[in-house]
Amino acid sequence: MKFVSEYRDPKAAEQLAAAIRKKVTRPWTIMEICGGQTHTIVKSGLEDLLPKEVVLVHGPGCPVCVTPIELIDKAVAIAKRPDAIFCSFGDMLRVPGSSKSLFDAKAEGADVRIVYSPLDALKLAKQNPDKQVVFFAVGFETTAPANAMAAWQADHEGIENFSLLVSHVLVPPAMEALLSSKNCVVLGFLAAGHVCTIMGFEEYFPIAEKYKVPIVVTGFEPLDLLEGIYMVICQLEDGRHQVENQYVRAVRREGNRPAQKTIAEVFEVSPRQWRGLGEIPASGFQLKGRFQKYDANRRFPFEGAPAQESPDCISGLILQGLKKPHECGAFGVKCTPENPLGAPMVSSEGACAAYYHYGRRQNIQPELSGPASR
């Protein structure tokens, strides 16, 4: 497949890995934020090609994992309504709420459907005028244009039996929250390539400057990740902290303007709860103005008890890259993909699930350097 296969070329991968090995003189901890990148890293065994000085940690890159339990409970409650068709991307189905997941609800008879695109949910609403069709709008900025378009089209066509349960999370505020924590060990970032395809990468300049960290916008194929890592390492070794773009074939500095325009018309920035991290100000989207009528949160009032996380779950530490999944006592024992205790084990792109599924269960304990470049 063009623009996919060539980025998996083993010779090129080895060349880039060799370049990294040559450049590195001391330990560096680099974080990637996007679950898709975590997935590629673990699936291709990329870390096997890197020198032990380069430590990759995985950030809160999975919007599925960071969706608060209360929202899952809300989704389940809506799904159980006899007049509702609840639509979602597949992975959300498995997230356990306080007592059950959407998948459990489906097994108990709720009309829960997996869709490929939010427009499919809108189509269902048109086809089922006597039902309330609700779409679980989860995602980073990457998915916001699609969700915005669904709301926009619903409004344009006067469709009333459609609504969105919104759980959008934004990357830059999460990065800032991580970087401003006094426990932060991250020295360089691979920024999420597809998020930047939409939003551009202007927002990262002030962050790089303030926290003195290199940030490289990176793609998702093995060569992209290796090149992105190489670019971060070069900066770290040279003592630079700039924003660079590895994913040049898909990302422009200003991002996708038409997409940003539609997002701005439909959504506004709001504070958001991140499961495992707590509330981060200005880190989410909510529907605004005339689109508020499509907010499932408003349309379906819900009384739920505040949810409790398992005391064994250290997801906060995992999502900040302070611990690796296999360093958690519950990992693979009490906490498995069949029985997830917390956020990162839930989605297959969550760090714990990725580690579990792809078997990265060995201990890699290189020395972590102090913030040498700050």
Binding site: K2, V4, T143, P145, G193
Partner: protein
């Protein structure tokens, strides 16, 4: 969460308003109907990056070659200098 796949635009179905513009996109032999609402510059023959049914970017084919050019250069330099790869 950001799975986006590159595909080639093989046919464009205009529907008046740009917002409703759609295309048949070929992913290595499989064709899917995709919205071009966010890529007004997409043309037949160009490659787009597709995410949840929407093209989110037109792939810059020249830039796509960049990393391979760079690696080729790196390879040439190493040969010239007679460096031994680790």
């Amino acid at each position: 969460m950001c799975l986006a796949v590159p595909g080639k635009v093989v046919e464009i179905m205009d529907a008046g308003d740009l917002v409703f513009r759609r295309a048949k996109v070929d992913f290595g032999g499989i064709k899917k109907d995709i919205s071009l609402a966010y890529t007004p510059e997409a043309e037949v023959g160009k490659y787009v990056l597709v995410h949840v049914g929407f093209a989110i970017s037109v792939i810059d084919e020249e830039e796509a070659q960049r990393v391979f050019e760079y690696l080729k250069q790196m390879g040439n330099i190493e040969e010239e200098l007679g460096e031994v790869r680790q």
